[in-house]
């Protein structure tokens, strides 16, 4: 196999890696915000029990079901390997529900697993950003008559994004490298292809190509994020 053929095959894998990367970000960044809201939810459906004499019932009054469910979800997503999560999403439908899955499902499994995993991480980053905002910003907005939604979207969110950009950069760079995990469900992304060629040709060149690809990809990501940080550096 000559260099040109090898590069052609690698670039096909590269395209798949970039697809996983792009789709994961497109879905997990907004989903993370929703998860963060759930994590911060103070909804207590049983408040009426707060007046009860029994200590147990009073405990139930303070029970926040949405927050608890989201906490468990985040804890599982962060507490188990992404590779394992990929396998559960891919094999789960067959082993748990007996649903026959098509061959093309591996691509969807990759996207689903990546999105729900990264949404959990992004949610915690968002929460950190939101909770670092001073109470004074909320109070100033409240006194001026802003609604809750206006306060969040006009005052809090823009400032939150500025604060969390460095942490998001970290996460996005990890994502670039994590795309290689898609191999466990036989999705032929960049690294899978490199391994196949390397085994067949007994050459390390595909790995060199892969290394250059990941490095350049991350360099572009880092530069783009730096630019984003600069674009919001006009205020403190």
């Amino acid at each position: 196999m000559d260099i040109a053929a090898m590069l052609l095959r690698l670039s096909e894998g590269m395209l798949r890696s970039v697809t996983i990367f792009g789709l994961t970000l497109v879905f997990s960044l907004p989903l993370g915000l929703l998860v963060a809201f759930g994590r911060m939810s103070k909804w207590t459906p049983f408040t009426c029990l707060g007046e009860c004499k029994s200590g147990f019932l009073r405990k139930i009054a303070g029970f926040k079901p949405v927050q608890l469910i989201v906490k468990i979800y985040i804890s599982i997503m962060r507490g188990t390997p992404l590779m394992l999560q990929l396998m559960v999403v891919y094999f789960g439908p067959w082993f748990i529900f007996g649903i026959k899955i098509s061959l093309a499902y591996n691509f969807y499994a990759v996207i689903i697993a990546f999105v729900i995993n990264y949404a959990a991480y992004f949610a915690e980053i968002y929460r950190g950003g939101i909770e670092s905002m001073s109470k004074g910003q909320y109070e100033a907005a409240e006194v001026l008559g802003y609604s809750k939604a206006q306060t969040f979207f006009k005052i809090i969110m823009p400032q939150m994004f500025k604060r969390i950009l460095p942490s998001v950069t970290n996460e996005v760079i990890t994502l670039v490298k994590d795309t290689s995990l898609a191999f466990v469900v036989a999705y032929a992304e960049m690294f899978t292809v490199a391994k196949q060629i390397a085994a067949k040709e007994s050459s390390v060149m595909p790995f060199v190509g892969a290394a250059v690809f990941y490095y350049v990809f991350n360099l572009i990501v880092a530069l783009a994020m730096e630019k984003a940080e600069k674009s919001v550096s006009y205020y403190q």
Binding site: E139, A140, L144, Y146, P158, Y234, Y235
Partner: protein, 258 residues
């Protein structure tokens, strides 16, 4: 009812856990009046201001603006607040200037001042900008409209926050220790603009530690301690010839520090 009464507070009570911060406070503020509230830390004066501006809720008591009821003690003895829509209307009657400004750092001076009039009061952009420019000129900030808060001095930031509050055309303006976060040489410029507003008969309630300023600008002074109004009257009566022992002590300690 008396149309001159802007703010009416009756029998206001507020506790944080076991600590009683406001013990049965009643006060009214008339149109055009400048009221200064003084007192030691922990006397409840800031809590009173925060309850009046709906940032804290009263445990019990009555609160109204221009005769429109915001809260009243219900049958169970606890304060019951008006509906969301009514409170939104009532919020438009007052403005609040914070100790640490709380400007929106990601907005320019102009956007800080015009965003709420445009998006909350639904005024036209042209109208909001015109009003904002008038106020900025009045406060000596006409060349700062495209600056961000971090590019301004503390005194300038506080003046912007006064403009932001005035742009909503409130009936009454509250100040929560407006100069406490400022360097001594910057307090003068802020006090000057408040004095200017007093001359225009803007109704104001000012929580302050600046006794000389309170004496010069206020029509009435309230001395609070331990969650009650200890003494009130004209600046002369309260600050120069106080009747109550507690007021004398406070003022004596204060003049020692000066």
């Amino acid at each position: 009812m008396n149309e001159n009464i802007i703010l009416d507070v009756r029998n206001a009570k507020k506790s944080f856990d076991e600590l009683e911060v406001l013990k049965d406070i009643s006060l009214t503020v008339n149109r055009g009046e400048v009221l200064a509230i003084i007192g030691p830390s922990g006397s409840g004066k800031s809590t009173l201001l925060r309850c009046a501006t709906l940032l804290e809720t009263l445990d019990s008591g009555y609160l109204s603006y221009l005769g429109e009821k915001a809260a009243d003690t219900g049958v169970n003895g606890r304060a019951e607040y008006a509906s969301k829509a009514e409170l939104k209307q009532i919020r438009s009657y007052f403005g609040l200037v914070f100790q640490n400004f709380n400007l929106f750092p990601h907005y320019t001076v102009m956007k800080n001042v015009t965003d709420a009039p445009i998006n909350v009061s639904k005024r036209s952009k042209a109208e909001a900008y015109k009003k904002a420019r008038e106020l900025l000129i009045k406060m000596g900030l006409e060349d700062k409209e495209n600056y961000y808060p971090c590019q301004l001095s503390g005194g300038q930031q506080q003046r912007v926050s006064i403009v932001r509050a005035l742009a909503m055309e409130p009936q009454i303006l509250f100040f929560d220790e407006p100069t406490s976060a400022l360097d001594p040489e910057l307090t003068g410029e802020v006090l000057k603009v408040i004095r200017k507003l007093a001359e225009e008969h803007m109704t104001m309630v000012i929580v302050t530690h600046e006794m000389a300023f309170a004496r010069a600008v206020a029509d009435r002074v309230i001395f609070m301690d331990g969650g009650v109004i200890v003494e009130q009257g004209s600046p002369e009566e309260v600050l120069v010839n106080p009747k109550e022992e507690r007021t004398k002590q406070f003022l004596a300690r204060y003049s020692e520090e000066q």
